[in-house]
Amino acid sequence: MPGCGASKNKKENAMTIKITLDPITRISGPLSIEVEIERNKIVNAKSSGVQYRGFEKMLTGRSPLDTVYFTERICGICSVAHGVSASLALEDALKVKPDANGVKVRNFAHAADFLQNIIRQICLYVFPDYVKIAAVPGSTGNDFRLPEKFTRKINEDYIKAIEYSRLSHEMVALIGGKVPHSHGIFVGGTTVNLDPLKIIRLKSMLQSIRDFIANNMVEDINIIAEYYPEYYKIGGGTGNLLTYGLFDEMGEGELHYVNPSVYINGKIDKLNAKAITEGTAYSWYSGNKTREVPSMEPTETDIKKEGAYTFIKAARYEGKVMQVGPLSRMILSGSYKNRISTMDRLMARVLEGKKLSEKMLKLLEVIEPIPAVQGKYAIPESSVGMGLKDSVRGALGHWIAIEKGVIKNYDIVTPSVWNLSPVDERGQHGAMEEALIGTEIRDGEHPMEIGRIIRSFDPCLSCATHVITDCREPYYIELI
């Protein structure tokens, strides 16, 4: 029916209602969600990535240095993160020790893109879930609870968000030439020749962005949290957390943020990259076996596969479902209480923006206004490299294998492959599916909870379904 925002098919069992939401708007890329509801409660959920591009197939045979600019084009909203992970993987494979100042500059640009993402995700993608935003088309008009004065304030901040997210990207462009798909983040650190004028320009931009996040956005998210308190109780999902680290190479002082680490069953541990696997039991790829990462060759699609429902694979750590993103980083760095819900994910994202912008101001103080340190990089006959670093949405890993001077295999595991993953071969739901299951739907005609829970994960389908890995190598790994 018009206005209900969902398709409903009553199945044979009259008690179960199936709802498919597609498109899920205000995320990056195409996502379809199917939930089954019994007595107003979600009893099953399927997260379905409905786009496929096959980047890893494209990368085979190309020049290794091209991966930085090539893989950035996986994602329009988080391109810098791919540039960073690709550069790290190349530095590992080429045995290049990046320049210390260059790494600081690269981290600054990486964090600047975080701010762009956080402002756009919270203000442009999430606000319309809770507040009527006059500037955008297609209002749902359902379950909007804010009084007029707060609605007006958040509408004003929506407009300001356009300005401050653009300004965040201007910081990236000052370092990277342009963005999306920037050039200045590269093997060795950066290509930009910094000078005092650029430094002070970055500082002035950053201060106003920091003020917008720390003042306006923190207040906005607290207003929303106050009027939607039950969202602190729903949409939690797995308590297992994972991060590849951020600003972890910046020493142990105030610049440091979070180390590569995991939280499993109440215990924090160092990350073990060898414990990462990807499965395809319910994905449209041939084969059902869970594989160690990196895999040895790209996967073939199999869109007729029985039971499969997504182009996203199932990333697991020691066989376990993990949650990644701002909330995981904030908890693992001791910056946020260990509580997981829809609203906590939003709150942690905003507070991380504030925290990062303050760290960036300190980082600027230690960045030297000197020319870029770059070299002529020789490509080895054969080598392998790994680049693991958190992007805004969570753990982003690139693995490269070079043979005869060209890419033999390239493997990418993105944050959304963790959060949006389907059921695995053990029957475990992905993090977002698990967060949906058990949720009570207040109004069956307007199931607002579904979209709100999904957006709290900040899904990026552009990333999740562009990357596929091996299914053929006949080896298993032991799951602990």
């Binding site: 925002g5 708007t25 496929y52 090539f70 749902t140 200045g184 002529k376």
Partner: protein, 277 residues
């Protein structure tokens, strides 16, 4: 700048009531959704002002409030009006469009290919936004796993092509301004607006004197001409040295890296390797 004047003039016309405000559908096909992000980076005027004053944005997956069936209905309703169709991302139509799904409506899956074909029949103007839509781009890079094509190949007719990876918001802005103002835009034989794609980046490059004097950069970060490092400026028609990027703050050459020809018909395969020493 000429483009800014054009945009301002278009806005004035709309305000004076001399031009009707036309609806706009922005579809994200197979790509990275980076062209809408790039468009949000527009300034003077910014994306919001532009979309409010010059067009009625009726459908945009990244921005619209509605979701699911209601979102698709907004799309369907707009098809019966005067509208401009903007498509970013390339078109995949193998396996009945299964590699890129647009919506689920009344128990049926609608592919992006189906939605774009439907909208293109009725659109007053069609713009391919970004290199993927204009020429296939990185989504069609070899071995082209999803059989991607440009929008014009998919539709079997010429459209206005605004390439660039992503499309520079200034170029999209100026193109829509021209369509709003004059109901047409002057294009070259590849459908590219002449106001942005007349000259190569090389012609207007700030490092041209280094090229003319054969003074070459040895590595990224150097200040000289990067032709020997693989710069595609000499064969890439675009507006980068003049309009620059991100509020005109910089561009790849200004960042001591080569142009990789991202606005070219043969990008990325024909541009590789992007960097060579």
């Amino acid at each position: 700048m000429e483009v800014i004047k054009l945009v301002e003039e278009a806005i004035d016309r709309v305000k004076e009531g001399n031009g009707a405000k036309i609806n706009f559908i922005w579809i994200e096909a197979n790509g990275c959704a980076g062209d809408i992000i790039s468009f949000l980076n527009a300034d003077e005027p910014d994306a919001l002002y532009f979309l409010k004053e010059m067009v009625n944005l009726k459908y945009s997956p990244s921005l619209m409030q509605a979701e699911g069936e209601r979102a698709y209905e907004e799309f369907l309703e707009t098809l019966n009006t005067d509208f401009i169709l903007g498509v970013e991302g390339s078109m995949t139509n193998v396996e009945n469009g299964f590699y890129d799904i647009f919506a689920y409506y009344k128990g049926k899956t609608v592919s992006v290919a189906e939605a774009v074909a439907k909208a293109a029949e009725k659109a007053k103007h069609i713009i391919a936004i970004g290199t993927c839509a204009a020429f296939g781009g990185i989504s069609a890079a070899r071995p082209n796993p999803t059989g991607c094509t440009s929008l014009s190949v998919f539709l079997g007719k010429q459209v206005v092509n605004v390439p660039g990876c992503p499309a520079n918001p200034l170029w999209v802005m100026g193109t829509v301004a021209s369509l709003v103002l004059y109901s047409k835009v002057e294009v070259d034989d590849k459908g590219r607006p002449l106001m942005f794609f007349k000259d190569t980046n090389h012609i207007n490059c700030e490092r041209r004197s280094y090229f003319d004097n054969k003074i070459n950069a040895q590595k990224l970060g150097d200040k000289e001409c990067m032709f020997k490092l693989g710069c595609r400026g000499p064969v890439t028609k675009a507006y980068c040295p003049i309009g620059r990027w991100n509020s005109r703050i910089n561009w790849p050459v200004g960042d001591n890296t080569p142009c990789i020809g991202c606005a070219n018909e043969y990008f990325p395969d024909g541009s590789e390797p992007f960097v060579r020493y």
